[in-house]
């Protein structure tokens, strides 16, 4: 009985500790709000909505992203974390990217521009927190067309010609020969008389 009592007390203490460790609840409505406001306020309202349960955790905005797109990584390391680092090597970026802290304790973010050459697919870059937590954020990169499109065959830009022009030049040449012949004939007649 004493053992059962001790177990119950220990479980209660654990629950209290876990409850204290849970970060402040992020506004669940921010995502839908963000869709109606300007880009500037979207940036500031990009809060972590689903990170209240798991520590550490993170999200990526936008998701899916695209090559060449500025992409924001938000992570929550736990309230005792002082700094966080994103591992960018899998994205073709610097190996260690120091994240900036937000106004909320334990929350960090960084905005990077994905390389234009990044392959489409699913990515899971890791992040490292100063309190020893290590996590991953998952997001997708959508494909974009690689090259300039070929949309036209030049029909309206191509000069069109007919055989008439070369026939015309031929006729003019023949006319010149006939003219020279007529002049020569006239001289011959004048010479005889």
């Amino acid at each position: 009985m004493r053992f059962v009592k001790a177990a119950v007390v220990a479980a209660g203490i654990n629950v209290c500790i876990l409850a204290a460790a849970v970060p402040p609840v992020f506004e669940a409505s921010t995502v839908s709000q963000a869709s109606t406001v300007s880009a500037a306020s979207q940036e500031s309202s990009a809060r972590l909505t689903s990170m209240a349960v798991a520590v550490p955790s993170g999200r990526v905005i936008p998701n899916p992203s695209a090559p060449g797109t500025p992409t924001r990584f938000d992570v929550f390391c736990g309230q005792d974390a002082k700094s966080a680092t994103l591992f960018g090597q899998s994205l073709g970026l610097a190996e260690l990217i120091l994240m900036q802290s937000t106004s909320r304790p334990g929350e960090f973010f960084v905005t990077v521009t994905l390389p234009a050459s990044i392959a489409p697919g699913r990515y899971h870059p890791s992040f490292d927190c100063s309190n020893g937590n290590i996590g991953k954020v998952s997001f997708s990169v959508n494909p974009v067309p690689h090259q300039a499109p070929e949309t036209g065959d030049g029909t309206t830009a191509t000069e069109t010609g007919t055989p008439l022009s070369s026939i015309g030049y031929g006729l003019m040449g023949l006319g010149a020969v006939a003219g020279v012949g007529a002049i020569a004939l006239r001289r011959r007649v004048a010479h005889r008389s």
């Binding site: 090559p67 494909p143 067309p145 300039a148 499109p149 309206t156 006239r186």
Partner: protein
Amino acid sequence: MRFLRNWLIGLSLALIAAGALSSYTGKQQLRWSAPPAPPAWEARASAHGYVAVSTTKPLARSLPRLIWIPKIKVWAPIEARGLRPNGTAVLPSLNHPLITTWFDRGPAPGQRGTTAIFGHVDSHKVGPAVFYKLGLLRPGDLVYITLEDRRVAIFRVYALAMYRKSSFPTTVVYRYTRAPTLRLITCGGRFDPRTHHYLSNVVAFALYVGAKRDPSSGLNGDRRPASGTGARS
């Protein structure tokens, strides 16, 4: 002898006149005027990363079916297409130059992000094709896209650019935007008769500004807007 001389003079004059007429008639000429290009200042505005900001709530994904651009009298169906194995966008066939294609691996019109729609500038089938006059668009012109769910997404052009294909800025044109935006893309600039390709692309940048219900939108192409006169003008 005099007769022969006069005959030769007459023949000479007649041949020269006929030749001049014939060469004038058959002179190399453009059957159509070359596609219009956007002004240079527009190209600069776009190239420097003009940022579109919209306060309009984005739409849910719905496939685009028709595009209507009153300014250049374009009214054309849209077909969904993806990527070729070499990473280039699948484009409309030159045998069907009056349709457009939507890059379906990206957002649909009205969704957050960049929607890309391609159309030919010209084709041997018809001469001027669906986006022949794209270069005439100017900031403020409206583009209407009818969606499968019978809504019409409305976009306003905010910039126009012409990029050389050799240095086409895919990240500027296709990158994700927080606001729902649209890119209308075709060919333009000088034509290289050796490679049979245009040397540049014309890109119209447009921002989503709202949507409306259009129960009489004619999704199957059986009814066109009153002010539209077709894909060609």
